[in-house]
Chain length 149, copies 2
DNA sequence: ATATTTAAGGATATATTTATCCTTTATTAT
DNA sequence: ATAATAAAGGATAAATATATCCTTAAATAT
């Protein structure tokens, strides 16, 4: 579905939404370990997510790190894809044809269309924090220790 | 969604289903031109689709080429993905987590699940020929000249 | 001011995907 | 048999994605 790069971006952003506040910043080492991704590479990716200062915020130096404001957590998941340059991910033809359209549909166009629309609205309608809600405290983030008990 | 390789495979197989019979084989040059793909690369990909002799058939020499039997045309689209080694494409976690499951779901698991199921059944239930049915004769295969008029 | 901490950024390495070219093999037509 | 045709297959190149390392810049604590 997504490239590894985008998978790391989604995991990182969702994790930061789950675990950080303006008062509780997360270091790159913690994030990379929690989401099971290569640290240096993830650092570059999170850099991209800080561009424009709308999604992820960062502070350098001691007690610095990454965090998301409450406002940022309410943004749609789509914003992550936008910052990764994957915003047209679901807009494209499933067979990769540039000229595929309603008027000149590819052989899978109408079969794929309703599914594509659900994918688009999944990312457009759901906020990052709505996903981050950790209902049963057993999310599949490998190294996070979410259990309270 | 898919890699370019898989996109070419889908386009090629669908095109061969549309245009070939055992008596009317298609050359690699025609196929590559019709589906707008690099010829040599597409040749390798179609080779993969001939493995096991269940989907695409090939004959060498003069009047040779590629074709699909009527039986092959009735196979589900999924078979193309299988031969390309992309059979688990939709089975995987949308965030790329290996340990994502019903018991330990990733933050998008349940939101993505119904969409994933539709994708799986699109490829499992629909036959290649059912897609290939060229309803309005204006498919987005760039260089095919489907118009009868 | 200085040292320490942590992200930002540049340069480079590695792996994988995508693509081309050339030779070989099978089949057909003469 | 020989030449022509078309796919099969091997070797290699180019492009892109993935990943690491090192230096720089900013913020904090002392």
């Amino acid at each position: 579905m997504f490239s590894k790069t985008t998978e790391y971006a989604l995991r990182a952003a969702i994790y930061i939404a789950q675990k950080s506040t303006a008062d509780k910043k997360l270091g790159i080492a913690e994030i990379a370990k929690a989401i099971d991704s290569p640290q240096s590479f993830t650092a570059k990716i999170i850099q991209q997510l800080t561009r424009g200062n709308t999604l992820v915020s960062s502070v350098r130096g001691p007690n610095g790190g990454f965090f998301m404001t409450e406002k940022a957590k309410r943004l749609p998941v789509r914003v992550i894809l936008d910052l990764m340059g994957e915003d047209s991910k679901f807009q494209t033809c499933i067979l990769g044809l540039k000229q595929c359209s309603e008027l000149k549909p590819c052989p899978m166009h109408f079969e794929y269309k309703p599914i594509k629309e659900q994918l688009i609205s999944l990312f457009a309608d759901r906020s990052i924090e709505s996903l981050a809600e950790d209902i049963n405290n057993e999310h599949a983030f490998i190294n996070s220790r979410n259990k309270r008990g």
